[in-house]
Amino acid sequence: MAAPKKIIKKTTKKELLHLYREMLLIRRFEEKAGQLYGMGLIAGFCHLYIGQEAVVTGVNAAIKDGDQMITSYRDHGHMLALGMSARGVMAELTGRSGGYSRGKGGSMHMFSVEKSFYGGHGIVGAQVPIGAGLGLANKYLDNGKISTVFFGDGAANQGQVYEALNMAQLWKLPTLFIIENNQYAMGTSIARSTAQKDLYKRGLSFGVKGVQVDGMDVLAVRDATKKAAAHARSGNGPMILEMMTYRYRGHSMSDPAKYRTREEVSEMREDHDPIDMAKNRLLKEKWADLDALKAVDKDIKSIVADAVEFAKTSPEPDPSELYTDVLLEVDA
């Protein structure tokens, strides 16, 4: 892990309350998703973002509307951060017609034109060249936008990633490659899977600059992303941001995470939790008291409860949906 930064980062009451709320929404949503999975209401695959909330929240705070975001299968947090509805995401997890993909995509496969969210991809690393393609579209259209491509430390060993990095630097694409280094590629620790563990250096041979960021500190993520976004947006090409983060839960719901110690997990939870970090600052600055924070939590719990109710009651997709959206002509 990157050492906790001692520098006090600039923020405002309004901003930090907002970021705290965003991260808490992801946390509570994911906790509930985990429960629903345990109850059998969510089937198949479900990868929780708990512990990593500061990464997407901080990135989202630093980019502009219309900048694209694309990520892997651990995607619930990204969608919530972008303002996609908790109802639509939860109903997709339960496979209902009210879900973003009418239940046919599932946890790993959701999209939104309105929020410039390009998925939700279930193949490790496959989203990375697509994200470079979004950058190439931006450059070709000269639209002033950047694409943000998220992938994990596991995906960082996929060959496609290096094809994309080479192209992105060759063509000076406005693309940020954001590595969410949560230390484990499913059950394989980075030490056991990766020859060069400093993933921010992975672009050096292409000339892609990289920085390592404390991904548990939402303000550090925000600041690093702002700098990188300015770099990419002004025509200097891509950058890598290695976000040092940690997932508290297993890779997916079927993973008991026996490849790491209980102590390691509790150390991260107790000393580096991104939400606690924001909370402590809010209290210290007297921007909120415990009652105010409780009210935020209550409000978020009601949003999540509403999403759960929707996800339980939204009907399953009609069998006629089986053949819709395969090819354009079929659903016409």
């Binding site: 999209f111 034109v113 979004l134 395969v326």
Partner: protein, 341 residues
């Protein structure tokens, strides 16, 4: 007023289709290995960079997963990229992007996103390319739901179908039989080579036109036998029909997915006999799909078992190319056998 026509080979017809779409639509970009400065190893993109600019027609690294992945991203954002994979044999590193991403984007985004990209790639043997420059992998793609697979057999169809592919809002895999680039091919390498310069299917409108998918072309009309084929094998079928003197329907499928089942059923119900041809390996080839459909829909009209002539279940050999290739002799023998049955 009659439209201006020009004699073209298949390379020129493909080039013309790309040029027209690039001129009409700024969303159309053409890229791939050596397609820009060099103009493509088969010259299909010659002159496009010069005419339309470096930003519209450009060279990529040799990275097929990256090329197709980038095309998917551009297409998801609303552009109409046309990516060239230099040989279909090189497409496998990009297969993940085709099967898991391009073909699936519409379905898993509730129809919000589409991937209107075209992937052009030369297929087939007959140029002594050996096992990595001769394959016909169409069945690997017709097996993927969410993808269209097109394979023209002549310059006229190539241009009209390619323009249609670029304008189509779904991902299209456009397979170009490289042995037909310069002329029709009988399947007998010892016969003198023909070219498109005097052939009626080499007579191509200079301007814009499209050919609908899912419409097979009746290459030759006959009464006694139906030959289902596509790409290079259309010309082998023609030569074999001439050699055997059998009066056959030659159905050039052109579009494998979507498939013109009506045309197939109509022909077989008329003739009562069916021969299926492809250059690709036999087991699980597209011919198996055709045979399944024909037996289901034409069972009571069939007078003989359906026969297929295909490549062997081996890698494409360099030395024994003409033993592998389902050429004039093998197809003629099969025709004779069916008619005697």
């Amino acid at each position: 007023m009659a439209e201006a026509m020009k004699q073209m080979n298949m390379i020129q017809a493909i080039n013309s289709a790309l040029d027209i779409k690039m001129s009409q639509d700024p969303d159309v970009l053409v890229f791939g290995e050596d397609v820009g400065y060099f103009g493509g190893v088969f010259r299909c993109t010659a002159g496009l960079q010069e005419k339309h600019g470096l930003h519209r027609c450009f060279d990529t690294p040799i990275a097929e997963g990256g090329i197709i992945g980038v095309a998917v991203g551009m297409a998801a954002y609303g552009l109409r990229p046309v990516a060239e994979i230099q040989f279909a044999d090189y497409i496998y590193p990009g297969y993940d992007q085709i099967a898991s991403e391009a073909a699936r984007l519409r379905y898993r985004s509730n129809g919000e996103f589409t991937a209107p990209l075209t992937i052009r790639t030369p297929v087939g043997g007959g140029i002594h390319g050996g096992q990595t420059h001769s394959q016909s992998p169409e069945a690997l793609f017709t097996h993927i739901a969410g993808l269209k697979t097109i394979i023209p057999s002549n310059p006229y169809d190539a241009k009209g179908l390619l323009i249609k592919a670029i304008e189509d809002n779904d991902p299209v895999l456009f397979l170009e039989p490289k042995r037909l680039y310069n002329g029709p091919f009988s399947g007998d390498p010892h016969m003198p080579a023909r070219n498109w310069s005097k052939h009626e299917l080499g007579e191509v409108p200079e301007g814009h036109y499209t050919i609908d998918f899912e419409k097979a072309r009746l290459h030759r009309e006959g009464a006694d036998l139906t030959i289902l084929c596509y790409g290079t094998m259309v010309w082998v079928a023609e030569a074999a029909v001439e050699a055997t003197g059998v009066d056959a329907d030659i159905v050039d499928l052109r579009s494998l997915m979507p498939l013109d089942l009506d045309a197939i059923v109509k022909s077989v119900n008329k003739t009562g006999r069916c021969l299926v041809l492809h250059e690709a390996t036999r087991t699980s080839g597209f011919g198996a799909e055709l045979i399944a459909e024909v037996q289901q829909h034409c069972f009571y009209a069939l007078e003989t078992p359906i026969v297929r002539v295909t490549g062997w279940d081996t890698p494409y050999p360099h030395a024994l190319e003409w033993e592998y290739f389902p050429g004039l002799e093998r197809v003629s023998e099969a025709i004779t056998r069916i008619m005697e049955d």
